[in-house]
Structures are given as C-alpha cells and as structure tokens.
Amino acid sequence: MMYQAVDFERPIVEIEKKIEELRIIANGGGMDVDEEIRRLEKKARRLTRDVYLKLSRWQRTLLARHPTRPYMLDYVGLMCEGFIELHGDRAFADDHAMVGGMAWFEGIPVMVIGQQKGRDTKDKVYRNFGMAHPEGYRKALRLMKLAEKYGRPILTLIDTPGAYPGIGAEERGQAEAIARNQFEMATLRVPLIAAIIGEGGSGGALALGVGNRVLMQENAIYSVISPEGCASILWRDTAKAPEAAEAMKITAQDLAELGVVDEIVREPMGGAHRDHKRAASLLRRVIRRHLRELMAMSPEEIVAQRIDKYRQIGVYEEI
C-alpha cells in the first residue's frame, strides 16, 4: 500500500523507510547492519511516542481524515462475517455515501450502517466523500426499523465530513431527514451502538449517532461544525482551523469529559491507518463488551436508557 503521511508523521516514516532499505541491503549480502537497524528502530519508537502522545486537536483532525485510515467497509470486513449490503430508501434513490446491511458480529446477527468514504478519486466521487443526501439517512432509518422489527441490534460506524449541503439535498429535506432519524432512533427497541471511526461531522453524524452507547476511536473527531467552517465564521479565515479545533474541543478525550462519549477506543500506536487489522480488533473488543451488556436488557430498558442518556447532556446554570 502506498503510504501517504501527513506532515507530522514524516520524520517517523523517513526512519521507517531507512530501516526498510537497510534490510534490503542486508538481505542482499553480507553486510552487518543489525546494530544500525536496532538503533533506528529504537529511534522510530521514541519518535512515534513523542509525536502521538501529545497530538494537538488539529493533528488528530488530520489523523481522523487520514487518506489511508480504515473506512466503514474495511471495519465491516475485519469485524463481521457474511455482510449482505441492502440498498435504497424505497422512495428516491440509493445513496452511495451511506452503506448498510445484514452481518454477523461474533455470531450475532446485527444491522450495520455507516458512511463510506472513497479511496481513489473515482471512488471518492462515487461515495460523495462520505457526505450523504436525505435518501442516505432515510435508507439508514429504513434498515434500523427493519432491525427493530426482528429484534436485531444495530451498529453504526460514523465517518462523515457532514451531511451534503447541496440543492437536491435541500429540496428533498436534509433537515427533516436528520431530525427524523434522531426522533425515530430515540425509541428503537433494540440495542444501538454508535462508533465514531473518523470524522463525526455535525448533524450528518448525529443522524446515525443516537445510541445506547457512543464509542469513539482515540483519533476520531466529533464536532458541531468542521474546524474550517467554524474558523471561517468566527475568525473569518479558514486558515485558523487549528485554533477552531482547539477552541471547540473535538477529540475523544474532550467528548468523554463532556459526557457525550461513553468510551474511548484505543488505536494502534501511530493511528488506525498504520494497522487496520489491529484497529479493528481493538474496536471489536469494545463493541463486544457493550453489546453483551445491552443484549441483557429488556426493550423497555433499552429505550429508557437511551433517552435518559441524552436527557443528561448539557451544561447550564439555573439562576
């Protein structure tokens, strides 16, 4: 896989490249480079720790959007078996930015739904960069209702810059579709786990995000508006996005502190993109635990817990 690094990753990637080259030389014949390789590996590890243990909120944003980060379908492939994709909202179209279907998670039949981003240019356009139209949210809701009808838990994997802002989207009621999903999700009688695996972009994310549990990978972000959008409105300058990211507090750590996220899911050192399999297995373990807890609850308890969870969120005073 071509490895595309974001700026702050480059020094680490450089060293790794050097190690790789040395290995090739060593295999080629005779030269003893073990010592040098060990030295470089140690350096790479130290550098990785230094960089990743104190990432700024903006750096995490770049990781959340990393071009080689695992996407929804990657996780489905790595965490579930027998995925059968189901298409269309039965009203207007099939939205390729939104994927959903039946799958088995460790033997449990679950409905899995999420936004899908594209890898190459053609794929990105096909997936509309993971930005769904109303028909995408309506498809998602149709599948959630189907899961509820047959008592199957729902797993949503959230990764979107936001709901698509376009003419067709407005004509077909983007606001209504997002509102409707929250409204209907609140009273679904089956367990719903939402995991933010990359970008949790505002209403477009929340439309899949009203869960009994909200999990968030450690380099994912979740915000009311993109850092660029916030910067352009409040600072009148998109270049101030890093400041906006800091001010809005959009990381998993921040959201756990605000009571919005229930658990932070660890990623492999250096980010999920460095080891898709390991990232998926870390996520799977956390989902499994929560799914077990929720499946032991009655439908009434499931609904009450979910509504109550959102009822508690907010910081205000009473004068």
Binding site: E176, A179, F183, G209, I233, K249, E318
Partner: protein
Amino acid sequence: MEWFKKIKPKVRVREKKVKMPEGLWVKCDACKEIVYKQELEKNLNVCPKCNFHFRISAWQRIEQLADPGTFVEFDQGVASLDPLGFKDSKRYKDRIKENVEKTGLNEAVICGECQLGGFPIQMCVMEFAFLGGSMASALGEKITRAIERSIERRMPLVIVSISGGARMQEGVLSLMQMAKASAALAKLSEQGLPFISVCTDPTTGGVSASYAMLGDLIFAEPRALIGFAGPRVIEQTILQKLPEGFQRAEFLLEHGMLDKIVDRRDLKHTLVQSLKFFLAEPVEKGA
C-alpha cells in the same frame, strides 16, 4: 434620472431606522415603501403595502398568539454557561453577558404555559436577538423541559422557531441538544399529544434539523428562510449561484416539506383550528 437613483440609502441605514424605537415611520425592507409605524404594529408587523413579514421579538410573538393575560413563563432562570472556555475575537462568557443585557433574557427562547383560543398549551418562542437564536445547552434544556411539561400536564405544544443554527461556542454540546429535544418529542408523540412547529425567518441548521422539522404540523411564515445548510455554505460547496427563492417557505412547500404557509395575521386562527381538529369533541351538526 440615473444619477438620482444611485443615492438610495444603503441597507445599513435602513436597518437602523427600523430598529429606532421612537421613529414614527419605518421603511419596508421589501417594497421600500415608508410605512406609518403605528399602522405597521396594528398589522402585526406585516407591511400593509406588500405583506412583507418584519422580524418580531419573542415577546411580541407571545402577545400576538397567547390569549390575553394567560401566559405564564417557566424556566426563565435557565442560563448559558461557558463549558468549553471558548474564545474567538471575544470570550463566549462576555457574549452571553452582552446578549442578556441587550435582550433582558437569559437564553434565546421563552417557554411558558398559556391559553390559545381557550386551549391550555405549552408554548416556546425563540428570540433571534439573543445570539441569533442559536442552539445551546440552556436552550435545549428549556425546550426539553417544555416538552416534558406537555407530557406531564397533557397539553399540546407549540414551538415558534427562529434560529441561525448551532452555537459553535458550545461545540458538540450544542449538537447533542438536537438529540435531547428530538428524543423528548418522540415520547410526546407516543402520548398522542399534538406538537405544532412554526418556522419563521430564518430557521436553519441545528434547529431545523431537530424539533422545527418534527411537528405533527409544520407551518411557516411567508418567505421565511428554512433549511439545513446556509445558502452561503451551499454556494461555496457547489460553486453555483442558487436559484431565486431557494430555501424560502414557498420553495419548501413546493417540495412537500411544509403543511402550510400561514400569514402572520392568520397564524393564531390557524393554530386554534388545528388544536380544535386534534382535541375538540366532535359536534354533529343537525343532531
């Protein structure tokens, strides 16, 4: 007379005039006609010449809708804090303070109980002058409490929305209020209690993508801007000019997103008739 046209007063000047409380005359934003202020007010702040609906305050709206002397406010002490310690060009804390002083409100919504054509209801009316009617923790809390009061007291709910969207200064907490209010509305709906949403100019972003679009009935004032994304964001995304009338109430009606566009002067009557339809005992004629 080309040269003469060019010295028309600019928008800014006009706005100032509209806001001047002691002014006797007001210039209409739409038809530019000069209107006698008293006449305008008597007409519920709708231009008598062209029917342009001037923006009104939450208290004015309540006065227009609630049966006289019946409105009792609740939760007026619920106020915004600054959970993120947010600062852009100004500190969020200072912004709140300024807006409290400017509007006399603690948050961008007034919630209470009143009678509407004799029906006891819960009513929430948003205030644009308070930080653009933006969605925030305190606002979400007040709306949610009003919904819960509707359930407890078995009363219908009317929300009059006006909002520029989310309050970025509260970050994701602002977003979560959408889910909080929507979840409460789901409970209200299960109880079979009517919820009527009235969208006024503008109703966009987080408010439109939650309770404003979840009414059993959704009404809007003529020409109100209603949508998910703001027109500027859409223009920047698709790099095209937007069609005339895009995201206006008439556009939404055309696309099946509204039940009805209601002239402000008919709003009370339409609300009362709707409540009658949902709640009044049927009376058989000629029986």
